[in-house]
Symmetry: C2
Amino acid sequence: MAMALQRPQTKEKKIPDQTGIRQVAKRAGVGIGSVSRVFSGAAGVSDQMRARVLRAAEIVGYSPNMLAQALRRQKTQSVGFVVSDIANPLVSSIIHGAEAVLSAAGYSLLLTNSGGEPAVDARRIRLLQQRRVDGLILLPAVEDDPAMLAALGASGIPLVVIDRSLPDSIEARYVYSDHYTGVGQAARHLLELGHRSLGVIVGLDVRPSRERIRAVTDAYRERKMKPKFLVDAGPLSAEHGAATMKRWLSAPNPPTAVILGGNQLLVGALETIRSRNLRLGRDLSLVVCDDVPLGRLFDPPISTVMRDTDLMGQTAARFLLDAISQPEQAASIAVLPTWYVPRVSCGAPVTR
Amino acid sequence: MAMALQRPQTKEKKIPDQTGIRQVAKRAGVGIGSVSRVFSGAAGVSDQMRARVLRAAEIVGYSPNMLAQALRRQKTQSVGFVVSDIANPLVSSIIHGAEAVLSAAGYSLLLTNSGGEPAVDARRIRLLQQRRVDGLILLPAVEDDPAMLAALGASGIPLVVIDRSLPDSIEARYVYSDHYTGVGQAARHLLELGHRSLGVIVGLDVRPSRERIRAVTDAYRERKMKPKFLVDAGPLSAEHGAATMKRWLSAPNPPTAVILGGNQLLVGALETIRSRNLRLGRDLSLVVCDDVPLGRLFDPPISTVMRDTDLMGQTAARFLLDAISQPEQAASIAVLPTWYVPRVSCGAPVTR
DNA sequence: TTGAAAGCGATACCAA
DNA sequence: TTGGTATCGCTTTCAA
């Protein structure tokens, strides 16, 4: 017989010092299940039972252990958020929006930073899965890292992806910014001003980069012009912004207007521009994507492609809550607006 | 007899669909304990056992459930971080630093935002406690909210507080910025330039505000001057910065130099200054606490009291890891430097 | 309405 | 070294 011998009835079950549900039950002289019912707000609990339990809980200082709840319910009421750079104000604004919606819905946020390393993205995703998060929001460095996709594919966990486009094999909901429109407006503005050779700095090969290039291309085409412009793809950092501007401005036919595909690039770009004693809006026109605090107070004010990043976070969170409550519902896509705000940093090019 | 009757040996124990440790054990034909040992890296496991288990795990696609581990081990390998405003770049930089250290040490970060509401701070702290975080990092709105202090006092959970000073009754480690030094340098600079009536905008009654006021006071005293300067305490927002500047500049004896105790104030202050057509460094001198991306490229460049916020986060995380591993060790305090970078926004006052 | 008991998925002690 | 069992703290049938 497989059954082992019973433990001797020592009757001296050691009393755990932690204040758990059974301490409360004993204190109140009721069943353990009743305590659970009271605290989980289940129906069918008499008022006097509720009172007894609450009082006992008060006395022993009990509060439910969400770990145990989660284990039992198979639901952690938590979601993971993997970002590539928390410190980027844009990202932290997205997080802010998401956190607000999630915490209002009773979810906690497990935040992890990948530092832009695809391999770390993948590891973090797996870690969060082991923590049994109920859902995942992703703002990964790249779109096609095999390790990441493998981790994602393995689990049928609800997924929302921000500003990245994953292969169809991954079931996910998407929150996009309509980079095409905002950058398109900017490009058209520059072309109208008479610029003919634009420069565009984008990031790696991810959706925003592609959309921005497409937008500029189409802006040229709209005017029946051959889409001849400079493109630089690299890290969206100040250093890279400075380096690229330096390179372009030293070339034989420098661009007369530049679109920066990320606000961190601005500081670097402006440094180079300043060191060359160029006057923005006259010697060179400049557009930056995503607002920078002092951008409109700068001298001259910097043209900007704006978007509501907090709203992106909120939307992502709402999508995720949907996905969690209705996993079978068709996956959806939200495209949030971007808009171009022309300022003095864009002017007609000087003829040389 | 307390022992209940045994369950009939139906032998048909339903097989859970989740892939848990027992699936692996069965698949490998070993005991459940052995699987645990292999995955927790315990000593005393034969190589062949390890191989068997790992292969079986591979096949059924097993990875440990950290929830169950946490419940059993009484350790979640997670820490809670309560901040008042994630979206503030300063704060997100602190988070960045903390996350790096924590995740390197195998901890996950539960991030929550209180929006500056003391009551929310308290609720979030309790929530995190129910999630059984191993430690807590706090950057709360105020220092003396009773609900918060009650929540903190109730649990003996390791605690690190950033830039806030809680009552001695709360056991905590502290990470401070040395606001006194940086602002003191700024104030001395302004007084040397000849300014006699300074204005200082600070936040609520929290440590940084007090230190900044103390620094300015002492700077006056050093020169044997009566510390007569304007102080405004309010939200560190752009709107408040604009409003306060407006108020001060409209008063009979406006300050000739202003120290802004928070970078968000800068945008608002500059707006007011611009609208009055004042030239910074000539008509009015200005210092801002905490770096602003375009501050040094601004026209004129803005004098700034700097600090390394990422390092603050790292330090907080390290303190917390210490506190978790050695709870009995004496609580400690770190004071991280701030330093003043004078720029053109500070000049000699014009005599009117 | 209430209590008892069987898990959720792991760890750890104990005996073998 | 390995297997078996009790247990972490809770939820949830199932009977009463």
